[in-house]
């Protein structure tokens, strides 16, 4: 399953210093119990994070928090200027946040602040390129279970 969230970061209020938006969390229920992980855009990072100002918000961060006995997280930057195939392990869940440039993924064009979440076996290979030429920078969060089982997620 692939989930495309159109600029959830656009809901942030750049004036409010506490502003943050939750991109994805598990379990994605109101109670969040038993809590395992979440990915946010926030001014106050608490976990694995990197700077983000992709939605013209001023200084924010992509921030990943995990319960370490359940989930491992990796956060890296991926820059794309030529068509690139990103291969995901079926057991992983990816959260991709476009930071700058316009990303082409299949028939979708993603703008800064747009988010892709990929889980399960469809698709495992993410072919991306820079729309309209140029260069795209994105934050890629890879989450996997510490016990080696497949990390499944329903939004």
């Amino acid at each position: 399953m692939m989930l495309l969230l159109r600029a959830p970061a656009a809901h942030l209020d750049p004036i409010d210093p506490s502003s943050e938006v939750e991109i994805a969390a598990s379990p994605d229920t109101q109670a969040r119990r038993p809590w395992e992980w979440d990915v946010r855009i926030t001014r106050r990072p608490e976990g694995l994070s990197r700077p983000f100002d992709g939605a013209g918000l001023g200084r924010h961060h992509v921030d990943v928090r995990v319960r370490p006995d359940a989930v491992n997280a990796e956060l890296r930057t991926v820059d794309v200027d030529t068509p690139t195939s990103l291969e995901r392990d079926e057991r992983e869940l990816w959260v991709v946040v476009v930071e700058s440039g316009r990303l082409q993924q299949g028939r979708f064009t993603l703008a800064p602040g747009d988010v892709l979440v990929c889980e399960g076996d469809d698709p495992l290979s993410l072919t991306v390129s820079a729309a309209e030429g140029g260069r795209v920078s994105m934050a890629l969060v890879a989450l996997r279970r510490v016990d080696g089982q497949t990390l499944r997620w329903v939004p």
Binding site: M1, L5, P8, F108, G120, D122, V154
Partner: protein, 346 residues
């Protein structure tokens, strides 16, 4: 609790005439009629005098006369005549609903009048585009409207409920891409290299393997545009046999819903045999849905408090749509928009 600041389909244009028609929308009684110039009108269907349904009365020029004691209301809901006395009590007014008539659909806004913008009525232009042919059906579903939303956003049920018409195992074998953009949630599935389903194969005259696709686009809280079709292997979707299924879902109450269904196609548009086959085939599809969802409604009504659906990855569109609906509901609750109507008296 309903999301009232929204456009809901109240009727087909063809249903509204000089004979008043009644609809219940979100538990609100609504009457629809046309003025002499053809303009459609929507008024609350309850006389403030004694609660009699105005739709049981008669039209006098452009006004509706209550069939009980003759109170008469113009198309804006203003009382213009009380037969038994000259003075019209101040509170003798019925609510007039903003109404948009477009492409053969009549939409009614059930919330605050000043928030009703015609621009937010969903696109249904295929209904009147001469390049498309349309089949329509109307159903009353014995289930809450949310079950219909779920049904349309998770089309893997076609593999089991609609095997004779549009179903096949390959549907649930292909994953979905879900897009959330504001209040619109879409769930898209591409099924490359598959057989056309029985209903389409017959009406499209197709054999062999094709790329099939469907994308449910939910415009919360009341409308789904289902963009589906079949195209050549690896070919762009727009080249194919295209279908636009428009679904107006209007709550009647907590356990029943109006379902306004339109199926527009860009192939065989002058083929009457294809149209006849689709009328019957789609009636079968809708009846299968109606039967299944009625059973589901029964199941849910007896489900113990605290138990909830076990959603899977194929339900990602369902899950996201529910969150959008919850957000709209919260916005409705926080806005002080509830109008308390006092009992009328003279």
């Amino acid at each position: 609790m309903y999301i009232l600041n929204a456009w809901y389909v109240a009727a087909w244009s063809s249903e509204v005439s000089r004979d008043p028609v009644h609809r219940t929308i979100c538990e609100v009684p609504v009457m629809l009629y046309r003025k002499q110039d053809g303009t459609a009108v929507a008024l609350e269907d309850r006389c403030p005098h004694r609660g009699y349904p105005l739709s049981a009365g008669r039209l006098v020029d452009d006004a509706i006369e209550c069939g009980y004691h003759g109170f008469t209301f113009d198309w804006e809901g203003i009382c213009t005549r009380v037969p038994a006395q000259e003075i019209i009590p101040r509170r003798t007014v019925v609510r007039a609903f903003p109404l948009v008539e477009k492409d053969g659909w009549i939409w009614v806004w059930t919330g605050e009048k000043d928030r009703a913008g015609a621009a937010t009525v969903p696109d249904t232009h295929w209904m009147t585009d001469p390049a498309w042919a349309t089949v329509t059906h109307s159903f009353a579903f014995a289930c809450r409207s949310s079950l219909i939303h779920d049904n349309l956003l998770d089309l893997t049920h076609e593999s089991f409920i609609h095997l004779s018409t549009v179903g096949d195992d390959y549907i649930y074998q292909h994953g979905i891409t879900v897009v959330v953009d504001g209040d619109v949630v879409s769930a898209d599935r591409l099924m490359p290299g598959v057989l056309a389903p029985p209903l389409y194969a017959a009406t499209m005259g197709l054999t062999g393997l094709w790329d099939r696709f469907h994308c449910t686009e939910f415009h919360a809280p009341s409308f789904h545009a289902l963009h589906s079709g079949i195209t050549g292997p690896g070919r762009p979707r727009e080249e194919g046999h295209l279908i636009k299924v428009m679904n107006g879902i209007t709550p009647i109450d907590a356990h029943s819903s109006h379902y306004f269904y339109a199926f527009s196609r860009n192939f065989g548009i002058d083929d009457q045999a294809a149209t006849d086959a689709l009328v019957e085939g789609l009636r079968t599809v809708l009846q299968e849905d109606a039967d299944a969802l009625a059973l589901q409604e029964i199941g849910l009504r007896s489900r113990p408090t605290g138990e909830s659906d076990v959603l899977i990855a194929q339900d990602a569109g369902v899950a996201k749509a529910r969150k959008v609906m919850q957000r709209l509901m919260r916005a409705e609750r926080t806005a002080s928009t509830v109008v308390e109507l006092e009992p009328a008296s003279t």
